[in-house]
Symmetry: C2
Subunit: 428 residues, 2 copies
């Protein structure tokens, strides 16, 4: 009888192991497929955006055509039946299963629309595109090979990781970000292996294909002693970053609402938006705020930026994205954080590079409510020396940014101030 | 009317900010108290254990008294009414509110019992003690200043972070570990600021008080190129680590059950356990397996260990802890991982330091089901160079370790293989 019981337990354990092991093998194979396919496409896309940016910078008259590029984008979304496309929010809803379908045609659509936005100088990121086409392709692949619901969702997450990793060159953060961002307080650990593997494969391919990651690593090596007055400064900095992050989210939501109200026709809306960006470009007399702005981010680590730079970037980005152009909000967030942190450096008496770095991850954390990804992206971009600063800034910024978010579909599942399940929508 | 609405919205936002800001100020102040008080006690405790270890090594005849030290420990738990004390599991239950009370006297009790275990050469860790007295003191402080239920739980988590940070010198992982380990798949982000701040303060105090962190940083700087064959090796390594981690958990549970069955009298049980450890010590003819074993962990990074070292450590630790001695399972897990990884290095043709490092975090992840903390502890102990290895090993080890855990009270809230809420108890 006793032998029988032990035998039974061992059989049970073997059975459990077989399932886990099968899951591992399955996801390694699927990750190679996802990471490979999406890595290649993302790299081509990244190179296309880089080429578009270079071409535009050599032919600045193209910016005048931005309003017409906008018409083109709206038209493309219209004819493909995606006029009501919710962008990255849709991805969040699909993974959380509030919504079931994720049309495969979203992938080419968002790629072309983002490329057009950048070719003609709209102020936007490109990771919105990455997350959307990664998710869309992952989901599509999942359907093609007839995976079940749960696995399809994991494929969606892995696709996002692969695309994010290829574009940013930060595989670890890319793996965790989709797992963390959908429902704040819940970690989709079932996707850990698929996301991690897809991300590393995607990143590897992007290196191989010579992708110029916008956020090239900016190692921050010499940091002032943390314990003491600098700690207090880091807290104050974090308060500023949380405020600016929340401001950016609020402005995006206000612009979206107001522009839709004022110009109900999407063609008119995007055209007016394009014209406004062109006007602002001529008024400010600089092309700092057009496109991704990678150059300015890099500059922020060298010398303090002016205090109004981040405000103008918020304005440019809100008009571009809310009038109907495509791209993403994350690179603008990084731009805003870097230039704002850089501007605060002399005021706080801290080195400019650590302030810019803290600004980038502080604002990123505030707008995405994803502290773990923020921490990991900090290490991948800036190295480990600034660790206590990053920890402080991210923790405080997470708390203070409240229930603001870039993504209306994001849910704050556990309260930020209490040990309590709230499952609350982010506010717009 | 419209002005009224905008005014209302602004008032609403200010109100939300006031709550968040108040929460920040409150937790900064409380973190200074928790981090300060617990940092000092944890440092005194760590120095006491270090002294006990040194003293024992100078007077090896003391190991013969181990069975009597065991009697003393059981007696102490008996007279304080804690004979049924569930150890670290109790902490998990308190935070998850399955159980409400956390007697303050647990703190001195676990400290003394752990010190006795180490003074007389039991094979155990010390972070079980750290987590328990950190939690107990945090909870006690929370009650003294009349915090509400939610805040008391956050205090408990912050206390654990402070104690863990002071003992291990890894503040970032210490902050995340209590938030992550209680319910796998849920992140107690409401505790982010308190845990982060308490951890950094606790760590700072321990540096100031000259604590000798067992796991002194072992920088792993030269790692072989990851992409290619080494990646495959990392996966195979991870499978081994997951298996050993699960084995350790299973052995602990079996020993606990069987020893309780065979020797129902706790005095007899602990005495027999002590005698067995003494016998094993004489048979093996080495004191490698007594106490913490920090020296052996360090050696694992220098030269390959024998393949049976980890097995003997499992045996020594299971007998020590399951017969009634106190300490913790984490340092033994790190010992097991380091020596096992080190032993595998020549077989896999990889450098010994990266294998030992991967072994430590791979086994840690397998027994705690806490991938984020594992990743962060890896960076804090071994630096950032081995990042792709750590990511791979941790992800695979997390998946394959299944529903085994050091802590019976730990819950796996989301499935490891499916995107599904399961709220499952770990298996014993």
């Amino acid at each position: 009888m006793k032998m029988e019981k032990i035998k039974q337990e061992i059989m049970h354990m073997f059975h459990a192991w077989r399932i886990l092991f099968g899951s591992l093998v399955k996801w390694i194979i699927l990750s190679i497929v996802i990471g490979g396919v999406i890595g290649v496409i993302a790299s081509v896309f990244a190179n296309l955006i880089a080429w578009a940016t270079d071409f535009r910078m050599g032919h600045m008259w193209m910016v005048y055509l931005l309003p017409f590029a906008g018409l083109m984008i709206v038209f493309l979304y219209h004819v493909t039946g995606q006029a009501k496309n919710a962008g990255t929010d849709m991805v969040l809803m699909v993974v959380r299963s509030d919504q079931n379908t994720m049309p495969g045609r979203v992938a080419p659509l968002i790629l072309i629309a983002t490329a057009l936005t950048h070719l003609f100088g709209g102020s936007a990121g490109r990771e919105g595109a990455a997350l959307q086409f990664g998710a869309s392709l992952g989901n599509w692949l999942g359907r093609k090979i007839h995976l079940n619901e749960s696995d399809k969702r994991i494929m969606t997450l892995a696709g996002m990781s692969a695309a994010f990793a290829a574009l940013f060159g930060t595989p670890m953060a890319a793996a965790l970000f989709p797992m963390e961002v959908i429902s704040v307080g819940i970690m989709y650990y079932a996707a850990l292996v698929p996301c991690m593997f897809s991300a590393f494969i995607g990143e590897r391919i992007s290196i191989f294909m010579g992708v110029r990651t916008l956020t090239a690593p900016y190692p921050v090596e010499e940091v002032p002693d943390f314990y003491g007055i600098a700690w207090g400064k880091a807290i104050l900095l974090a308060i500023c970053f949380a405020f600016v992050g929340a401001l950016f989210c609020v402005m995006l939501h206000i612009f979206e609402k107001q522009l839709k109200k004022w110009f109900q026709n999407p063609y008119l809306r995007v055209f007016i938006g394009g014209v406004t960006v062109v006007l602002l470009w001529k008024i400010t007399g600089t092309d700092t705020y057009l496109g991704l702005g990678g150059g300015t981010i890099a500059q922020s680590f060298e010398e303090p930026q002016k205090l109004w730079v981040f405000l103008l970037k918020i304005l440019f980005t809100c008009i571009t994205l809310c009038s109907g152009f495509k791209g993403g909000e994350i690179v603008p967030s990084l731009f805003i954080g870097a230039t704002f942190g850089s501007a605060l450096a002399p005021i706080f008496g801290l080195p400019v590079d650590i302030c810019a770095a803290c600004g980038m991850v502080g604002v990123f954390c505030a707008v995405t409510n994803s502290p773990i990804s923020s921490l990991l992206i900090a290490f991948e971009l800036f190295g480990f020396a600034g660790m206590p600063y990053f920890c402080t800034v991210i923790a405080v910024s997470y708390l203070l940014s409240g229930y603001q978010s870039l993504y209306k579909a994001q849910k704050i599942v556990y309260s930020k101030t209490e040990n309590k399940y709230i499952d609350r929508n982010t506010t717009s």
